[in-house]
């Protein structure tokens, strides 16, 4: 018995010693995650990777909240908050460490890194079909060019890479001249145009088409004042025939039916959907009113149809009768001058589609953007809205073509483009004619304001025209805002975020003034 036990122990002991000599015991046993080395073996995996990049745009720092809108809509002549919130941006109190766009910078570089890693894995990958390889590459090239478009718009020269670099190399890159980045991206977009399909349907609606690539390329050219190239690219989109201007301006923004949010004028949108965690948008809340602000004279008593009570109670009751309410934040309301109809050309049908100053016959305390609000309490709830972000639409392309043609050859050939847009905007028609080149140019300043307000174009337009400073200084702001007192010439760019300077001092090498902020 005893010897038996002893020998069993010795066997056990031997067993442990064998185990100990076996290094396998200390190997990492990863079971629940995908590793890159075993990926990109079929078309479906390539699709998953591209899908992941689209998700990066559905982020608070980009299109989902006011990430990009902070710098594309605030601080200009169209809109601001209806009280003293978010004012470091609108009031040009931007400095390193304050409203310097750090979150947006980080998120856009996630797009750059993901697309770059996926492009290098898909390009020339024989495990994928030709069709999948082409279209996925096209989407990734477009998405990366979109990220660099925003990065160079906001910061000018930025770190630039299009190939997979080791982490420690990537993290200390200095700034590359904006022109170099943009010319590389224009080439990428030309390639994306060739690779991408012309149209999508069903559950692929929302992916980038070749027209999205061409529109982005047109924007790059326009911003760089390459008029001929911009014009040519706009013509490609217009003549491509995949998109058309809707007959009615308001219909372009009608997203009241969540199952039918796409229309022929949309060239590229970022899709949002209610009820999916992180995939709904809260941007609409900025455009929706707060009930605590509305209606005008809200706490006064009144009598409507024999019912007496405070105005707000009766008004809210009427809203609720039609399954509506004012549950937003009021962070984006039109500036006083823009909201006044007398400042719009007479007969401009876009005014009523854009601005709302009274609702259900009740005067509102503030004006709002009708094109971007949604009071529906069934499909578009607070903090859970389904409205897509319209990034590019055809009217913008027409106006870009008009502008480029005017700069190139004067107004003669440009009237066609601008009047296409004005045709639906006015009843009766008020086409442009008989202008000088200079008159046409300045008229375009206003035409883009009225056509494209609150769509994320205005501030970059003012910057590329070189009139941001004077415009901000002359437009009327509400009492709690004073951007005119603070704006400086260098405010056309953001400072490279302080957080990034701390982590990568090389970002100060090419420009120790950090875009003029130090």
């Amino acid at each position: 018995m005893k010897t038996n036990i002893t020998s069993k122990f010795l066997i056990l002991l031997m067993g442990f010693l064998v185990l100990s000599s076996c290094d396998d015991f200390l190997e990492e046993d990863l079971r629940d995650q995908i590793t890159p080395d075993a990926f990109f073996t079929n078309d479906k995996e390539a699709e998953l990777a591209v899908n992941g990049v689209y998700r990066l745009l559905q982020d608070n720092n980009v299109y989902r909240q006011r990430g990009l809108d902070n710098y594309y809509t605030s601080g200009a002549d169209i809109q601001a908050a209806n009280r003293d919130v978010n004012s470091s941006i609108h009031n040009y109190l931007i400095q390193e460490g304050t409203a310097d766009g750090n979150g947006t910078w980080i998120q856009l570089y996630k797009v750059v890194n993901n697309t770059t890693e996926f492009i290098s894995n898909i390009e020339g990958n024989e495990s994928l079909t030709q069709e999948a390889r082409d279209s996925r590459l096209g989407e990734l090239l477009f998405l990366r060019a979109l990220a660099y478009y925003h990065l160079t718009n906001l910061w000018g020269d930025v770190p630039f890479y299009t190939e997979q670099l080791p982490v420690l190399e990537r993290s200390v890159l200095g700034r590359t001249p904006k022109a170099e980045i943009r010319s590389a991206m224009k080439e990428d977009l030309a390639r994306a145009f060739d690779l991408l399909p012309s149209a999508y349907s069903g559950n692929d609606l929302g992916r980038a088409s070749k027209w999205a690539a061409a529109t982005l390329k047109a924007k790059y050219h326009l911003f760089d004042q390459e008029w001929a190239l911009a014009k040519a690219e706009c013509d490609v989109v217009i003549d491509g025939g995949a998109h058309r201007l809707l007959d009615n301006y308001a219909d372009v923004f009608d997203q009241s039916d969540p199952s039918n949010q796409y229309n022929d004028e949309h060239i590229y949108v970022v899709d949002f959907e209610a009820d999916y965690d992180g995939l709904f948008t809260t941007r609409t809340d900025d455009y929706n009113p707060r009930i605590r602000d509305e209606p005008a004279g809200r706490n006064n008593d009144t009598i409507v149809n024999g019912v007496s009570g405070t105005k707000v109670d009766i008004f809210q009751g009427l809203l609720r009768d039609q399954a509506e309410d004012m549950t937003g934040y009021g962070w984006s309301v039109p500036l006083p001058e823009f909201a006044l109809q007398e400042n719009w050309q007479e007969g401009d049908l876009r005014y009523d589609a854009t601005i709302v100053t009274e609702y259900l016959g009740w005067k509102l305390a503030f004006p709002y953007f009708r094109k971007n609000w949604n009071l529906d309490q069934e499909n578009s709830l607070r903090g859970n809205h389904p409205e897509n972000y319209i990034v590019f639409r055809l009217a913008d392309v027409y106006l870009m073509a008009a502008e480029a043609e005017n700069e190139l050859n004067g107004p003669g050939g440009a009237y066609f483009y601008v009047n296409k847009v004005r045709e639906r905007a006015f009843e009766p028609d008020q086409p442009w004619t008989g202008m000088s080149k200079e008159e046409f140019r300045e008229a375009i300043y206003d035409e883009r304001k009225f056509e494209l307000s609150a769509e994320g174009h205005r501030r970059m337009d003012l910057i590329r025209w070189g009139i941001l400073l004077e415009t901000v200084q002359t437009v009327q702001h509400r009492p709690w805002n004073n951007p005119a007192a603070n704006i400086q010439p260098y405010h056309v760019l953001l400072p490279v975020p302080q957080n990034q300077l701390e982590l990568n001092p090389k970002l100060l090498e090419s420009d120790p003034t950090n875009n003029g902020y130090r």
Binding site: K2, I5, T6, F9, L13, F16, D23, F25, L26, E28, D29, L30, R31, D32, Q33, I34, P36, D37, F39, L48, A49, V50, G52, V53, R55, R83, D84, S87, E96, G97, T98, A99, I106, Y109, K110, V112, N114, E117, V167, G202, N203, D204, G206, R207, P258, Q261, D271, F272, E273, D275, L279, R290, Y329, N384, P479, W480, P497, Q498, E502, L503
Partner: protein, 753 residues
């Protein structure tokens, strides 16, 4: 309320230096605004009931111990609590003279009712001007200032379902066999099994649930297996004693989890019990697995000479799965020696000194507590939506580590133990010095890296900790009926960052919204160090604003900070060292008085010289509209009323983000009466109780009865050990209004039969 109204009437004014514009509408109507004490609403007196029963027994070849415990606690926040049942059993069997075996088992099941409310959120965010119920009797659901949806604490308590069910089995079996004289083998095999099921349900009728009910069930199964095998050799030769131990241990921990949730339940009939009744399109499922392994070879030699001189040598060769091949193993030796001076002949006659021991040790220990798989590149799963339909995707995951290895600490300890007057007075003192190298830190990388989280685990830097620990025990009075004992302990630690791989500092934390850095590792400073701008009070005149070059950005009555680099911007470049959460010293003082069968035990505990970083100051002091402010703002700068105040006026910092500053730093020193206990041993002889009981003890204990501190945000002992993101492992001392340690009073009876 007045503060909010005033802040809404603030404008830059025509001269740009600030104006309260009384023509702007009031945001709150003083006549209709209610006041709610939310903290009072969610708190209740807690209670605990605890019952223990145990049986022990011995027979010739076996010992056994069986016990049961029932514990039931009602928490101090309404709706919280814990109910626990526990069984323990120990069994030791002597099979033969040379062979022993035994088993320990500890089986516990408990249910935790989690806090239904977000306590920190109530402190910072839920405004007193918000009513509990709306006029129609329903719960209020929004912040009255921001109009944002906000949880209603009362509704949370009444309606939320949130509890954890935990089953825990801890077992350990051993065999011990004497192979030959002085040589024995012991093997233990232990398993810890932990099964957690978390049930959550947010009913449709919760005011913030606009989409119907939400149910979630998470499960977590962890298994930890540890096996230790040692050979022991003991030799006693007259004056020499030698003990040698050699062995091998291995440990494997793994974790399997599942999660499932569904949203948009049409009603609250089944709660979380059937997630299939949520809307099918909202169902979310997931699962995970993780594992880590450790193995060690170890050897130890103890040598003693006449119990005067003691020497210990230890060597370990440890391996961990979390490091890459080639870095898995590291060797950790240590040596220790002690001299019992009181055993020496020259001390034998001393009447005064009874105990006199000197000891010292030096050794290296290793740390491998980083997450598994940190060196592997991964793609994370994600989802996106096209034309309204949800689809899967992947994205590049975290930055994998490269060449990571063990963090090592070299530690020197020196100590002395003294006993006087028949050990009525004993004294111990220790000095230590620890140098930790290759710290395992999640180092931030620049955003342009573009990975999921832009930190990477690295071995970086070194830090030295040194300090003293003193302990003094005295028996002040000792006679037949009365005894008084005291115990005083004091410790101090000083830490200093020695180097950071060539960098001056590394940012640990950036708390608050755009507040900039709040804690750093700085070479030459302690770990960690609070940083921020220096707050100078309020601007008193336009001239001061012009002198600082801050026209249009700062206002009279608004906050003023020291502009260290003179660029008129206040940001991280103006950061100065503001303090450290490491106390100068801390300690405890215990006194025990015994009179006949009655004893009283009083224990004070305190800390001196630590700073605490009050994360709330940003909003509480500067009054961001939708958040709570501190009472100090009653004394704020008000035009024409209180123009000398250094508390900023309401408004100008309303929407601006204020830098982390000296305002956030508070003295965290405190002294607290930690426990006080009165204990009575009921005399059994008198009542004839001795036939029934072998002892009967009645006691009352109070904990956390008194607290003396200047800290403004509750309990200085309770703070975040991490806040925000980044190098959480070494951040500490941030407080954001956590629930304070509860005062408690316990009544108990202990009976032995």
């Amino acid at each position: 309320m007045n503060y909010k109204n005033e802040s809404y009437q603030f404008t830059p004014g025509p001269d740009g230096f600030g104006l309260t514009d009384s023509t702007l509408p009031l945001v709150l109507n003083p006549e209709t605004t209610t006041t709610t004490d939310w903290l009072d609403l969610v708190e209740q007196p807690g209670s605990i009931s605890n019952t223990d029963v145990s049986v022990t027994g011995n027979s010739e070849n076996a010992n056994y111990f069986i016990s049961g415990n029932y514990f039931n606690q009602k928490g101090v926040l309404r709706g919280s609590g814990l109910e626990r049942v526990n069984f323990r059993t120990n069994l030791d069997v002597r099979v033969s003279d040379r062979f022993k075996t035994g088993i320990r088992a500890n089986i516990t099941h408990y249910k935790i009712e989690n806090n239904k409310v977000d306590y920190g959120g109530i402190v910072s965010q839920v405004l007193p001007i918000r009513p509990v119920y709306l006029e129609d009797g329903s719960f209020s659901f929004e912040n009255p200032i921001s109009a944002g949806l906000e949880r209603n604490p009362e509704a949370d308590i009444q309606l939320r379902v949130d509890h954890d069910l935990v089953t825990q089995v801890i077992t350990n079996a051993y065999v011990e066999y004497e192979i030959a004289k002085n040589l024995s083998f012991k093997s233990t095999f232990g398993a810890q099994l932990n099964y957690v099921k978390q049930n959550n349900y947010l009913p449709c009728i919760l005011p913030e649930r606009v989409n119907g009910g939400f149910g979630r069930i998470n499960t977590n199964f962890t298994k930890s297996i540890l096996n230790e095998n040692t050979l022991n050799y003991n030799l006693d030769l007259d004056d020499h004693s030698i003990k040698v131990l050699g062995g091998f241990t291995w440990q494997k921990d793994n974790n399997e989890s599942t999660r499932s949730e569904a949203d948009q339940f049409p009603n609250d009939v089944v709660l979380f019990n059937n997630l299939a009744l949520g809307d099918a399109s909202t169902a979310v499922v997931g699962s995970g697995y993780s594992q880590r392994t450790l193995s060690s070879f170890l050897g130890r030699v103890n040598y003693g000479y006449k119990s005067k001189y003691l020497l210990t040598l230890v060597g370990r060769y440890d391996g961990s799965s979390v490091f890459e091949t080639g870095n898995k193993y590291a060797f950790f030796p240590s040596i220790g020696a002690a001299w019992n001076v009181d055993e020496e002949n020259f001390m034998a006659d001393s009447d005064v000194i009874d105990r006199f021991k000197l000891r010292g040790s030096y050794g290296i220990v290793g740390e491998q507590g980083v997450k598994a798989y940190n060196s592997l590149a991964t793609y994370n799963n994600t989802t996106t939506v096209f034309n309204g339909s949800l689809i899967n995707g992947v994205a590049v995951g975290d930055v994998p580590s490269s060449g990571l290895s063990w963090e090592t600490t070299k530690q020197l300890d020196l100590g002395i133990e003294l006993g006087f007057f028949n050990n009525r007075l004993t004294f111990e003192a220790d000095y230590y010095k620890k140098t930790t190298e290759d710290l395992l830190l999640a180092v931030a990388l620049s955003g342009q890296v573009g990975a999921n989280s832009t930190t990477q685990l690295q071995n970086l830097g070194s830090v030295r900790n040194s300090g003293f620990e003193f302990g003094l025990n005295t028996v002040n009075v000792e006679n037949e009926n009365f005894q008084w004992e005291s115990n005083l302990s004091i410790s101090s630690n000083k830490s200093e960052i020695l180097e950071l791989d060539g960098q001056e500092y590394i940012t640990l934390q950036s708390t608050g919204n755009q507040g900039g850095n709040s804690a750093r590792l700085i070479v030459g400073e302690s770990l960690p160090t609070f940083v921020g701008a220096k707050y100078l009070g309020t601007y008193k005149s336009a001239d001061e604003i012009i002198a600082d070059g801050r026209e249009g950005r700062s206002f009279i009555g608004g906050p003023r900070y020291e502009d260290v680099n003179g660029d008129s911007n206040i940001n991280d470049e103006d950061s100065v060292v503001l303090g450290s959460p490491i106390p100068d010293f801390y300690g405890g003082f215990r006194n025990t008085f015994t009179y006949k069968n009655l004893s009283l035990d009083v224990f004070f505990h305190g800390s001196y010289g630590a700073e605490i970083y009050n994360v709330r100051s940003q909003t509480a002091y500067f009054g961001r509209g939708e958040q709570n402010v501190d009472p100090i703002v009653l004394n704020r700068w008000i035009a024409g009323v209180n123009e000398t105040s250094d508390v900023p006026r309401a408004g100008p910092s309303n929407s601006l983000f204020n830098p982390n500053s000296s305002l956030n730093i508070e003295d965290g020193s405190y002294l607290r009466l930690k426990t006080m206990s009165l204990n009575y041993n009921v005399p059994l002889e008198s009542g004839g109780l001795s036939d029934v009981f072998s002892s009967l003890n009645v006691y009352v204990t109070g904990t956390n009865l008194l607290l003396f501190t200047d800290f403004t945000l509750g309990d200085p002992e309770v703070n975040n050990f991490s806040d925000g993101s980044g190098l959480n492992s070494v951040s500490q001392g941030f407080a954001s209004g956590q629930y304070p340690y509860a005062k408690s009073i316990t009544l108990g009876i202990k009976v032995e039969f």
